[in-house]
């Protein structure tokens, strides 16, 4: 009985698809586009060899191949998702280019996007990618067994309908008109011939199963005892002749080895077991790059990503610190010596952020935030009535010492705060530090039990989002760190989110930022910006290292900026031969400032 009913549902579902296909007719007058499809990803590279095993490291071995749920390994998740193509993708300069779609068109209702799927698109097991796969994906995500509740919720709230017109044509309709329509309707298909159904056993069943994908690489080896996972490039990958991806994805195999800690990773690199390693710590980078191996084939890269900076700094809690007058707030801003932090910890290579949204092109406004200045701070404190200093040198007013208690979570923040604490004494401000660890930190953010917090947000992809940070809705979620409850700001943010016109949104974005900065609860911190790595020189990079702003030139699979490096076997052979080596310059040191902005 159960079997039957299951079958009925299944037949019904596929029947529904065929009915749809028969009855639905594409609207006329659609303007089809294929975006930035014609742009090659890396014009600088002429001819590169497509070979080599590129080995990178992870700090832990994944517990599952699933990309959903709390146990998912973040690095593996990225690798798998980058190879599980969606309809379109965007590069970091705003251009949308096709992946599985070949063309798209926006409907007149401004809620629907029509997609034509590339007829060449194939799953890694040879099946054709069809409209059904997208419909199945939408249905699966909506199903109550889908392991990612957030994704399910989003999909239920935002996507109204996915329609199939023929085997290669679908449309996705949103519930509301929205900006970034292409980004929102960008579905990723699921292989309906392989998964068939999402049921309660989904997680168990697909824990270690390799699901067919559409991207350039697929997992070909998982060695749990030797601790690595390999991705192999597909020989007859359906998109390999696309202009966009011609010079991308050059390594034959990309392997990820799990190693316990940074020391072991460095030793493995020295023994040529790894192709590159990333070095966050600047002192370590400077020290290690003096190693003799850098005369024998090691290269160093310092790269400025050019992407929007994270929104990082000191957020004063407007609820807890409501006693701060305007003068006091400004005085406090003048008491934070980030210049000295930069000197002491970042060897003067960091940059002071110019606001919460630094690097979003026309979306950002850049203000002159108060710099450390003991004279100005002193003047402001005096005006606010904090005239005398106590035995510790801290300003007092009515028996009360001028203190600010800052909550922080990260060890790296701690080092910065120590310096700030020492420096703030000069203006007569006492900074108390309170370290709070991960989960408790989030809890405290939600309840608002802090006077100030040192924390930040990872950058948003395209244009700034203000809802989380400055809207009063963010107070309960613990993302409105300053706990600003300002009706005018709320109104502007709501308007910004609903607005479709680019010009109006831009203007609103500027107004929102101005308004929020005027309130004065945020003191911007520093942005490290540089990304440092050491690599073996036979892994070559184009010039510039990344053709567009990207988080790293060493990304493996990202459709827009991944896999641009390639293997130079001749160079490796030459470096191993003393006579040939003499002709090659002894070290390679790349400092890539292409995307640097001041």
């Amino acid at each position: 009985m159960i079997l039957w009913s299951n079958l009925l549902i299944w037949v019904g579902l596929t029947g529904f698809c065929t009915i749809q296909a028969q009855t639905q007719k594409l609207p006329d007058n659609l303007l089809w586009s294929s975006g930035a499809a014609g742009i090659s990803n890396s014009q600088q590279i002429k001819k590169v060899s497509k070979e080599g095993i590129f080995v990178d490291s992870w700090l832990s071995f994944p517990r599952t191949l699933l990309t959903l749920g709390p146990a998912a390994h973040p690095k593996l998740k990225k690798a798998i998702r980058d190879n599980q193509w969606a309809l379109t993708s965007r590069d970091n300069v705003g251009g949308v280019f096709p992946l599985l779609a070949s063309q798209w068109a926006t409907g007149l209702d401004k809620r629907t996007v029509y997609y034509r799927i590339d007829p060449l698109a194939r799953w890694s097991d040879g099946h054709k990618v069809s409209a059904k796969d997208f419909y199945f994906s939408w249905q699966s995500i909506k199903s109550k067994h889908w392991p990612d509740p957030w994704q399910r919720q989003w999909s239920l709230e935002h996507i109204e309908q996915v329609k199939i017109y023929d085997q290669n044509t679908i449309s996705v309709t949103m519930r509301h008109m929205t900006a970034n329509l292409l980004q929102r309707t960008n579905l990723t298909p699921l292989p309906s011939h392989f998964i068939k159904k999402v049921d309660p056993s989904y997680v168990k069943k697909y824990n270690w199963k390799i699901i067919p994908n559409t991207g350039p690489y697929q997992i070909n080896e998982i060695s749990k005892d030797r601790g690595f996972i390999s991705f192999k490039r597909k020989n007859n990958w359906w998109a390999k002749n696309r202009l966009r991806h011609q010079h991308q994805f050059n390594a034959e195999i990309v392997r990820f080895v799990a190693l316990p800690d940074e020391e072991v990773i460095w030793e493995a690199f020295k023994r040529k077991k790894l192709s590159i390693i990333k070095l966050k710590d600047l002192t370590l980078f400077n020290k290690r790059t003096r190693d003799p191996l850098f005369k024998n084939g090691g290269g160093t890269l310092e790269y400025w990503s050019g992407l929007p900076a994270p929104c990082y700094g000191i957020w004063i809690n407007s609820e807890k610190a409501s006693w701060l007058s305007k003068n006091l707030k400004e005085g406090i801003s003048h008491s934070f010596n980030f210049q000295r932090v930069n000197l002491g910890l970042l060897q003067n290579k960091g940059k002071r952020l110019k606001g919460c949204f630094d690097g979003y092109g026309p979306w950002s406004i850049y203000r002159q935030f108060p710099k450390f200045d003991e004279k100005t701070a002193q003047k402001l404190f005096m005006e606010a009535g904090w005239r005398t200093r106590n035995g510790e040198g801290i300003r007092i007013s009515n028996q009360r010492a001028l203190t600010l208690k800052i909550m922080f979570g990260d060890e790296l923040d701690y080092n910065q705060l120590l310096i700030l604490q020492q420096e703030a004494k000069k203006t007569g401000l006492k900074i108390e530090l309170e370290q709070v660890k991960s989960e408790k930190f989030l809890e405290r953010l939600k309840t608002g039990d802090y006077e100030a917090v040192f924390a930040g947000f990872a950058p948003w992809q395209t244009n700034p989002q203000f809802q989380l940070i400055w809207h009063s809705k963010g107070i309960g979620q613990g993302t409105n760190f300053s706990r600003i409850n300002n009706q005018e700001l709320d109104r502007m943010i709501n308007q910004y989110d609903a607005e479709l016109s680019y010009q109006v949104r831009l203007k609103l974005a500027h107004n929102i930022q101005n308004k929020a900065y005027d309130l004065g609860w945020f003191i911007p911190g520093l942005h490290g910006g540089w990304q440092r790595s050491v690599f073996w020189r036979w892994w070559r990079l184009p010039v510039p290292s990344a053709p567009r702003p990207s988080p790293t030139p060493w990304d493996h699979f990202h459709p827009s900026y991944g896999g641009l490096f390639w293997y130079d076997s001749k160079l490796e052979r030459a470096m191993g031969n003393p006579r040939e080596k003499a002709g090659i310059s002894p070290r390679e040191k790349i400092v890539d400032k292409t995307w640097y902005r001041d």
Binding site: E263, T283, L284, K287, Y414, K426, G428, L433, Q435
Partner: protein
């Protein structure tokens, strides 16, 4: 003060054990130096003579820069004052401590970045750590905190442990049995994990750490005390005291306890080392005293992290720690030998 002949004999015996005795002298010197750390490791000057007046900034309130003719009103940077006075040939002098840095300040140079290697010229005799703080200052102030921590811990552990232990021995019966079982259960709680859990719930402070560690530490001495009191309470002097009419409290604390002193004294040095190592390991794991308190554990974890870059950090802190622990162990060994009852007891 007149000491009783047994104690004098024991002290003499202790002095004759050279290793223990010299360790004791050295350790006392270390303690004294640590207690007076502000006088030889400090960013404040010891004496300043300026315009005919003498200033002693070491202890006491901040003296603003304006007092010495600077244009700022925060605490005077005495190193600058010394330099200025020397350069401009001003009347007066600044006497700086041997190490002119405190344990919290970050010293950044214009031409190099921390951590800086040990150097006589910059007066960072053991170099600086990764945020430019003087390692020697952190080691000495860290030692001071560790030893104070350890002694406070010892006091409470012993006060509770001795009282409960003697009561168990003295009263015996149900009280003894119930307490024994309770302590057995209590000692089987893995206290390091409990501390880690508690510290991640509450914020670690000096008082909280002491409280938690006393909470789990007092049991250590109880069983030894119980056994000794069991032996002592049936001896003639104890019975005599009872007969004369001494109460329970008086019998335990005035008569029996002094006779268990050799046991207690023997345990003390090892409890001190225990206290130091537990605090250090907690700090090392990041569950110890809140930053930026100078601590050996924090220096150690930093030293491990910066092993390739700044080996002086780990070398300094490990040598300091090994030296102190070895000294205390030698002292403990000396005391144990000196208080060995077999030396003075004759069995008939």
């Amino acid at each position: 003060m007149k000491l009783n002949p047994t104690t004098l004999k024991r002290l003499k015996q202790f002095r004759s054990i050279k290793r223990g005795y010299y360790s004791f002298v050295l350790f006392m010197i270390c303690l004294l130096l640590a207690a007076l750390a502000e006088l030889w490791i400090n960013s404040r000057a010891i004496v300043v003579k300026y315009e005919g007046h003498y200033y002693f900034p070491t202890y006491g309130a901040v003296i603003p820069g304006t007092t010495f003719g600077f244009d700022y009103d925060y605490e005077t940077v005495y190193r600058d004052l010394q330099k200025r006075m020397a350069e401009q040939n001003e009347d007066g002098f600044v006497l700086m401590p041997l190490v002119p840095y405190n344990a919290l300040e970050n010293d950044f140079k214009e031409d190099s970045y921390p951590p800086a290697a040990p150097s006589l010229e910059s007066k960072h005799f053991l170099g600086t750590d990764k945020t430019g703080r003087d390692v020697l200052a952190r080691v000495v102030y860290g030692f001071r905190i560790a030893i104070i921590f350890s002694l406070i811990l010892l006091f409470f552990n012993y006060a509770i442990g001795m009282t409960v232990g003697s009561m168990m021995g003295f009263f015996g019966g149900k009280f003894d049995i119930i307490m024994q079982r309770l302590i057995e259960i209590w000692t089987n709680v893995p206290f390091l994990y409990v501390i880690i859990i508690l510290v991640s719930i509450f914020d670690a402070t000096f008082a909280l750490l002491i409280t938690i560690m006393v909470f789990f530490g007092w049991t250590g001495l109880t069983f030894y005390m119980r056994t000794t009191v069991l032996q002592e309470k049936v001896k003639e002097y104890a019975l005599a005291a009872r007969v004369i009419g001494a109460g329970t409290f008086r019998t335990i604390f005035h008569h029996i306890l002094p006779n268990t002193i050799s046991l207690i004294v023997t345990f003390i040095p090892f409890s001190v080392t225990g206290g130091i190592t537990s605090l250090t390991s907690l700090d090392y794991l990041g569950f110890g005293l809140p930053p930026p308190t100078p601590s050996w554990g924090e220096l150690m974890s930093q030293g491990m992290e910066q092993l390739e870059v700044a080996s002086w950090i780990i070398i300094s802190v490990v040598s300091g720690m090994v030296a102190i622990l070895v000294m205390i162990t030698f002292i403990g060994e000396g005391i144990r030998e000196a208080f060995d009852p077999k030396k003075y007891t004759t069995y008939e």
